[in-house]
C-alpha cells in the first residue's frame, strides 16, 4: 500500500506518528477488563504475577510465590478465575431481538445479551498467553478453574476473527489508528508505539522510543536480567520466609508501566469518534457471547485444537467474509481508510462534469432500459480497465472509458428507473467512487467436494500413551490426581466439536 509507505515516511521525517484513521474502528467497552502479567520464562502455565481489573487506579495484583508449585499456582489462578467470573456476570442481561430464521422468510424472537465483556491486553504475546492460560485451565479438574478456562478459550478464539472486539491488544489498537516511522516489528512494542504517538514534551520520537525500550517489558516474558537480579531473590524470600511483600512490590513496580500504557492506548482511541459500522460488528460479538453463555450453562462448551473438514471450511469461509466486510466497512466509515484505495487507484475521487440521465441501452431481452451516463473529472488518470465496477452509495456503475482526466461511467443499479433518477449525483458534485458495493454476499453452501486445505489429510492421531511429566515440584503437590501428573485434556470426539472459532452458527445470517 503506497499510502502506508507515504504515512511512514511522513512520520519518519516529522519524528512523530501520523494518523492512519480518523474513526475508532474497534468497539471500546465503557468498562473493559485489562490484563498484564509475566509468566516464568518458558512456562506459560506458570504465572509469576498478573495485574488485572476494570479500574485503572485499583488493579488487582496476583503473585505466585513458587510458580512451579501446583497448589500455590491453583490458589492464585482461583482468585483470577473468581474475579473473571464476577466481571463476566455483569454481562448476563438479555433483550429480545427479532431475527429471521430458516431461509429468511420467517421471523423469530431470540434473546441476545445487551452487552458483552471485553478484555484488553498490552500486546499480541499476552493475547496469545490468554489463550494458553485458558487451554491450561481447561485441563484441570477444578470446576472454577475449568469454567474460567472455557471463558478464556472463547475470548481467545474471537481474537482471530477480523472485526471482533472481545480481545483487544493495545498494540493493535494503536497500529490500526496511527502509523509510525519505525520498523513494523518495532510497532509490536507498546512503549515504543506510545512514544511515537505522544512523545513526552522536549524529546522527539526517536529518543522517547529508546527510553521506552529501556523500561521493563510489557510481558508476558520478563526481562532475563530482572529474573536474575530481582525475581529470583524475591521468590526465594517468599518461599523460605513466607514473606511475599518483596515479590508483590517488585511485581507491582515492573507491571505498572504496561498497565499505564495499556490504559493510555485505550484512552487515545477513545478520543476518536466511533466508526458507523463498529456497533454492528460489536453486535456480532454480543451474539457470540450469548451463544457461548448458553453453551456454558448447558455444559456443552468444547474446543478442538485443529479444525478439519466442514468446520474448517466454514471457518475459512467466515474469515474471508469477515475480512472483506471489515475492509469495506472501515473504508466507508473513514476517509483516511478510503484514501488507501484512492492511493492504489481502486477508488476514484472527482467532480461530476456532465450527466446524461436519459441514456438507454437495449438489454439482452431486446427491451430498451434506462442506463444513465456520468462523466467525472479526476485529478489523475484512472488506470483500471473498462468494465470495472464502482459504487457511489447504493448507486452502482461500470467504467465505460477513461482518459487522462475524465472517467465515463454507466449507472447499472440503484438509479436506473425514472423515480430514482433523483439519486444520481448532481453536476458539479464532488464524489468518491469506491470499489465497495452495498453489501457483499458470499453464500456458504457446501461444495460437493471440500477444497484440499480443509480436508483432514491424516487419520486422527492415536492418543499417546506416555504420561505427562509435570514441571511441578513433586513434594509440593498433594494434588487432586496422582502426584506429578497433569490429567489428560478432556478428549472431545471430533464429530460434535462446536469449534470455538467457528462462530458461524452463533450469529444470524446476513449480519455482515
Amino acid at each position: 500500500m503506497s499510502l502506508d509507505v507515504y504515512q511512514r515516511l511522513l512520520a519518519l521525517s516529522q519524528a512523530r506518528a501520523v494518523p492512519a484513521a480518523s474513526r475508532a474502528h474497534r468497539h471500546l467497552s465503557p468498562r473493559p477488563w485489562l490484563l498484564t502479567g509475566y509468566h516464568l520464562a518458558g512456562e506459560p502455565s506458570a504465572p509469576v504475577a498478573i495485574r488485572y481489573g476494570s479500574f485503572r487506579d485499583s488493579p488487582k495484583l496476583l503473585t505466585v510465590a513458587e510458580p512451579r508449585d501446583r497448589a500455590l499456582r491453583f490458589a492464585a489462578l482461583g482468585g483470577l478465575a473468581r474475579d473473571l467470573a464476577t466481571y463476566l456476570s455483569r454481562y448476563t442481561v438479555t433483550e429480545p431481538v427479532v431475527r429471521a430464521t430458516g431461509n429468511g422468510r420467517e421471523l423469530d424472537v431470540d434473546q441476545c445479551c445487551v452487552d458483552a465483556p471485553q478484555i484488553v491486553v498490552p500486546n499480541e504475546a499476552t493475547a496469545h498467553w490468554v489463550g494458553l492460560l485458558g487451554q491450561y485451565l481447561r485441563t484441570l479438574d477444578d470446576p472454577v478453574l475449568a469454567a474460567a478456562g472455557a471463558h478464556l478459550g472463547w475470548i481467545a478464539s474471537r481474537r482471530h476473527l477480523p472485526g471482533s472486539s472481545v480481545l483487544l491488544t493495545a498494540t493493535d489498537l494503536l497500529t490500526t489508528h496511527w502509523r509510525t516511522g519505525q520498523l513494523p516489528t518495532e510497532d509490536g512494542h507498546l512503549g515504543r508505539l506510545l512514544a511515537w504517538i505522544e512523545p513526552p514534551a522536549g524529546s522527539d520520537a526517536w529518543q522517547a522510543a529508546r527510553d521506552a525500550e529501556a523500561m521493563p517489558p510489557a510481558g508476558p516474558a520478563s526481562d532475563p536480567s530482572w529474573d536474575q537480579v530481582v525475581l529470583r531473590p524475591a521468590l526465594e524470600r517468599a518461599k523460605e520466609q513466607g514473606d511475599v511483600r518483596r515479590l508483590k512490590l517488585a511485581a507491582a513496580e515492573v507491571l505498572g508501566g504496561a498497565w499505564r500504557d495499556t490504559w493510555a492506548a485505550v484512552d487515545l482511541v477513545r478520543m476518536l469518534p466511533p466508526g458507523e459500522h463498529v456497533a454492528k460488528r460489536w453486535e456480532s460479538d454480543r451474539w457470540s457471547w450469548t451463544r457461548h453463555r448458553e453453551r456454558v450453562l448447558a455444559g456443552t462448551v468444547s474446543f478442538s485444537a485443529r479444525l478439519s473438514d466442514v468446520p474448517a471450511y466454514r471457518f475459512l469461509h467466515e474469515l474471508e467474509t469477515r475480512t472483506a466486510a471489515l475492509e469495506r466497512q472501515m473504508a466507508l466509515d473513514d476517509p483516511l481508510v478510503m484514501a488507501r484505495y484512492l492511493a492504489t487507484g481502486e477508488a476514484v475521487a472527482g467532480v461530476v462534469i456532465k450527466r446524461d440521465p436519459e441514456h438507454t441501452v437495449v438489454n439482452s431481452g431486446g427491451r430498451s432500459v434506462l442506463r444513465p451516463l456520468l462523466w467525472v473529472r479526476t485529478p489523475a488518470a484512472f488506470d483500471r480497465p473498462a468494465g470495472t465496477e464502482l459504487w457511489w452509495g447504493k448507486v452502482g456503475m461500470v467504467v465505460r472509458a477513461a482518459t487522462d482526466d475524465t472517467v465515463e461511467l454507466m449507472v447499472t443499479s440503484g438509479a436506473v428507473t425514472r423515480p430514482k433518477l433523483g439519486l444520481l449525483p448532481d453536476a458539479d458534485a464532488e464524489i468518491v467512487l469506491a470499489p465497495f458495493g452495498p453489501l457483499q454476499y458470499f453464500p456458504d453452501n457446501l461444495p460437493d467436494e471440500l477444497p484440499w486445505p480443509t480436508r483432514s489429510s491424516r487419520p486422527a492421531p492415536a492418543p499417546e500413551q506416555d504420561d505427562d511429566l509435570d514441571t511441578d515440584l513433586d513434594s509440593a503437590a498433594p494434588a487432586a490426581t496422582a502426584p506429578g501428573r497433569v490429567p489428560e485434556p478432556r478428549a472431545v470426539p471430533a464429530e460434535d466439536v462446536a469449534a470455538p472459532a467457528t462462530a458461524a452458527p452463533d450469529e444470524p445470517r446476513g449480519l455482515w
Partner: protein, 336 residues
C-alpha cells in the same frame, strides 16, 4: 561460532556489514559493550527448564528415535568423530567448519540407520496439541541447517548426512518429550547461497587484527555498507545501525515495504520532496516512484482535508468522507 549466529545470516540477506561481522568472527560481547547494546542473555528459569528437559528427553531418546526414524537403538553413546553404522550418538563440543567458519555447537545428537545419519535436536518450547510456535520452529530449522551443512562438510560422503532431522519438544504443559520429523533441505539450500555471499567478502584490514579493541571494531564495521531492514532487530549491530539510519533519515528505517517502494531514493526527505512535487524526478525510476508517492500524498491530503489535491477545495474532513463517499445515508447523498 554457534549455529544460531551463523543461521542469523539468513535474517539479513544482502547486508554487507553483517557478512563482515561474521566473516571476521567478531567477538559479540566486545562489540555489544562497544556500541552500548542492552544486555541480552537467558533467564535463569529458562536455563533450568532447558537443562531439566534436555536431561529427561535424552533418557527417552531411543524410544522416540525408534518411533519416528525406525531405528532400534540403545541409549546414546559418546563419540568424538562422525559415527558410522546404526545407533545413537552424542558428540559433545564437535569442532566443525562451514566454509571458512568454525561451527561449534555444544553437542550434536545423531541417529544412524546404517546408511543415513539424522541429527536429533532437543528444544524446550512446548508443542501444544501438536502445534509448536512456528517462529521458534523456523529458527530451529535454520540452526539445524547449519549443523547439517557443517556435518556434510566433515563427512567423507556428504550425502550420508540426512536433512531429515528429529525435533524433540515437551508435550503440552508438561515435560513429556514428543518427537516430530523436520526436513531442513530448503534451509540448507538457502544457507549455501548466504555462505557463497560470505566467501566473496573481503575483510577490512583493521578487522584482521588478532585482538582489535571495541572502538576499532565499531569504526571498522561502520566503514562497511549496511542494509537496514526488517530482519535487523536480531542482529548484534542493531542498535548501532538503527541510530545511523535515524541520523541519515534513511527510508529503510521505516521498514522493508518503504525501502522496496522507494528503491534508489535513499532518504525520506528526498522521497517526500518527490511526493510533494518539490523536486523534479531524475530518470524513469524516480519518475515512477514520484508518481506512486504523489498519488498517495494526494489521497492523504484529501482525507485529512488540508491541501486537498484531489477534489479542489476539499470539503471538511468528516462530511467529505462520509456523504461524499459511498455508503452515505439513503436520501440524496452528496448534494451540495
Amino acid at each position: 561460532m554457534d549455529p544460531r549466529r551463523i543461521a542469523g545470516l539468513l535474517d539479513a540477506p544482502g547486508c554487507r556489514r553483517r557478512q563482515v561481522l561474521d566473516a571476521a568472527q567478531v567477538d559479540l560481547g566486545l562489540l555489544a559493550e562497544a556500541i552500548g547494546a542492552p544486555p541480552g542473555g537467558q533467564s535463569p528459569y529458562a536455563r533450568e527448564r532447558d537443562g531439566t528437559f534436555t536431561h529427561l528427553a535424552t533418557a527417552r531418546l531411543p524410544e522416540l528415535v525408534g518411533r519416528h526414524l525406525g531405528i532400534e537403538c540403545a541409549a546414546a553413546a559418546e563419540t568424538s568423530e562422525l559415527p558410522v553404522g546404526a545407533g545413537l550418538w552424542v558428540w559433545r563440543e564437535p569442532k566443525l567448519r562451514l566454509g571458512g567458519l568454525p561451527v561449534t555447537p555444544e553437542q550434536i545428537v545423531l541417529a544412524g540407520d546404517g546408511k543415513l545419519l539424522h541429527p536429533v535436536e532437543i528444544r524446550s518450547y512446548a508443542c501444544l496439541d501438536g502445534h509448536a510456535d512456528p517462529t521458534k520452529v523456523a529458527g530451529t530449522a535454520r540452526e539445524l541447517a547449519v549443523v547439517v551443512a557443517a556435518l556434510r562438510q566433515a563427512a567423507p560422503v556428504p550425502e550420508r548426512v540426512s536433512s531429515r532431522c528429529l525435533l524433540v519438544l515437551p508435550r503440552n504443559f508438561g515435560l513429556a518429550p514428543v518427537g516430530t520429523l523436520l526436513d531442513v533441505a530448503p534451509q540448507v539450500r538457502r544457507l549455501g547461497w548466504s555462505l557463497a555471499q560470505l566467501d566473496a567478502v573481503d575483510l577490512p584490514a583493521r578487522l584482521r587484527l588478532p585482538q582489535p579493541s571495541g572502538e576499532t571494531l565499531v569504526s571498522a564495521l561502520t566503514e562497511v555498507e549496511a542494509r537496514f531492514g526488517d530482519g535487523c532487530p536480531s542482529c548484534p549491530m542493531y542498535t548501532h545501525c538503527r541510530r545511523d539510519a535515524e541520523d541519515t533519515g534513511t527510508v529503510a528505517r521505516a521498514g522493508g515495504a518503504a525501502a522496496n517502494l522507494c528503491g534508489p531514493v535513499g532518504t525520506a526527505a528526498h522521497a517526500l520532496a518527490l511526493a510533494h512535487g518539490e523536486r523534479t524526478p531524475n530518470g524513469e525510476a524516480e519518475q515512477a516512484i514520484s508518481d506512486e508517492l504523489a498519488r498517495a500524498a494526494a489521497a492523504y491530503g484529501w482525507a485529512v482535508g488540508g491541501s486537498g489535491v484531489a477534489p479542489a477545495g476539499g470539503p471538511g474532513t468528516d462530511s467529505a468522507g462520509r456523504s461524499g463517499t459511498a455508503g452515505g445515508p439513503a436520501g440524496k447523498p452528496g448534494a451540495r
